[in-house]
Subunit: 310 residues, 2 copies
């Protein structure tokens, strides 16, 4: 049986194989997704992001376990910071919670950020589609959230869960401001630490400033390791999902995200086209030489290469 | 006198104005840089990155002060995490060290990450060129280093200074691995904290693994607030600069960075081109609708738009 049919029948290895092919930019995997696309759309995608050290993996695993207890099938895509030079993911699947790995209703996968614009892998979106077709009810996409990654997570997720921790210093506080507009739900993890109430208050105050919407993101203190308030967090996620579906904001968000995806695909193809021609003529190389010697500026260099396709 | 002449004469306000124009995507600023480009190339660019909370600003300011004492003119571009929705920089110049702000030989500027690919502002590269033309000897570009930002910093800098701190948890440790290949110099800041020696050892061990180069990045413990070992750090920066110049690796790196810049400029222009056409025809909108309803896959949608420009 081919990989396509095996995926539709819920074959775990076919699912894993297809995601690997996507990571390797294998054109055949894209063709398969194109053919199976009509079988997607059932899974609900939850983006989970937060600063380094906020306990994202533990929290994600705990949520997955709770949804499993409600008989939901859950996929987890953990986006790992990638070495830009070797291209390899750093955190392995190995170190993910092992009791989940044995459960057939759970599919966990670490992905690097290779080929990414921002912290999100180019293959993440497609991998989520594979998990969707594979039959998952929920898909968690977990990223280290600093700067660009947050923008990216909002572009693939139906609901964005923002994880904060008490007392993470000034840089983190700064990052929070950017986070305010993205989070649909705020969870303050490690809330047994001092300062959890202060952090909660700060987030609430920030939300007050932005309060133009008919939906107010809830802010809840949790402890993933001690399983405190985690059931409430699950409820909040489901509430947000219901809100998104009821108000048709889900369709709206998915449409925006689809546009973003199409734009990225176009960007990629155009770039490949033009770079092929420029490389063919050794143009990029020779123009860069001129720029480094200050005989040319990079804007004019760009114009010269652009003339190749005009 | 026009802004162009004023910049060449070292007019501080002209410099600030030009950077603002660049941040606002003002085409006239680009034209000015094109005309003045031949006056650039003297400044040496040092990228400074590290995890949130590692004390980057304090350390950067301290280094700037030390170089000022050696009669060097120093520009600082501090890249702030930006809200992707409002586009505003979060940390203001206000909170930067105020004694530096009064020194005419120092130019400090906070920049948002608006329009960025990754954590680096699109305007950062051009702003560095402005500071270069303005007559700065050294330019520090300081970013929060997580994920993509590191890739970006290496694409604009001549030397990359990586700041670490003792005991920052697992995520940070993971990020370190990606950092190893980028850092030219490693400074462990806040080295009065427990665990500084352990962190130093870990970094050294990681460097052992990667040790294929003729240059071995030094790892030094410092304390920026207590001015400990900071003179040594300055020496290490100058040593690396000498190494880069002596071995002609500087030209090589600048050539790579120039290529990256030209590619980014092409990417941007292509995007603008295609989006103008696709939006004009309402095509992106209608295709996205079909994709969300699962009547079409995004790859085929991309092909349909591509046909427009072929």
């Amino acid at each position: 049986m081919n990989i396509e049919k095996r995926l539709l029948k819920g074959d775990r290895r076919a699912c894993a194989r297809l995601i690997t092919m996507l990571e390797n930019d294998d054109e055949r995997a894209i063709e398969i997704i194109k053919r199976l696309y009509k079988h997607s759309g059932n899974a609900y995608i939850i983006g989970i992001t937060g600063p380094p050290g906020s306990g994202k993996s533990t929290l994600t695993n705990r949520l997955a376990r709770k949804l499993r207890n409600r008989d939901k099938k859950v996929g987890i895509l953990a986006i790992d910071p990638t070495s830009p030079f070797t291209g390899g993911a750093i955190l392995g699947d190995r170190i993910r919670m092992s009791d989940l790995a044995l459960d057939k209703g759970i599919f966990i996968r670490s992905m690097g950020t290779r080929g990414s614009l921002g912290g999100m892998s180019k293959a993440t979106w497609s991998a989520a589609k594979v998990l969707d077709i594979y039959g998952m009810d929920y898909i968690f996409i977990e990223t280290v959230g600093v700067g660009q990654s947050e923008v990216d997570i909002v572009k693939v997720a139906d609901t964005v869960l923002m994880i904060m921790v008490p007392n993470l210093g000034d840089d983190i506080q700064a990052i929070k401001a950017g986070i305010m507009e993205i989070g649909d739900i705020f969870a303050i993890n490690k809330s047994d630490l001092d300062g959890a109430d202060k952090t909660k208050m700060e987030i609430e105050m920030n939300l007050d400033l932005n309060d133009k919407k008919d939906y107010r993101p809830p802010v809840i203190k949790v402890s993933a390791t001690q399983d405190e308030n985690m059931d409430k967090l699950v409820e909040k996620l489901i509430e947000h999902r219901n809100y998104m579906e009821r108000t048709e904001k889900l369709i709206e968000r998915r449409k925006d995200n689809t546009k973003f995806k199409i734009i990225k695909l176009i960007e990629e193809e155009l770039m490949n086209l033009i770079m092929d021609r420029a490389l063919e003529q050794n143009l990029l190389e020779s123009l860069s030489n001129e720029v480094v010697l200050n005989d040319l500026d990079p804007y004019t260099a760009k114009d010269k290469i652009m003339r190749l396709i005009k």
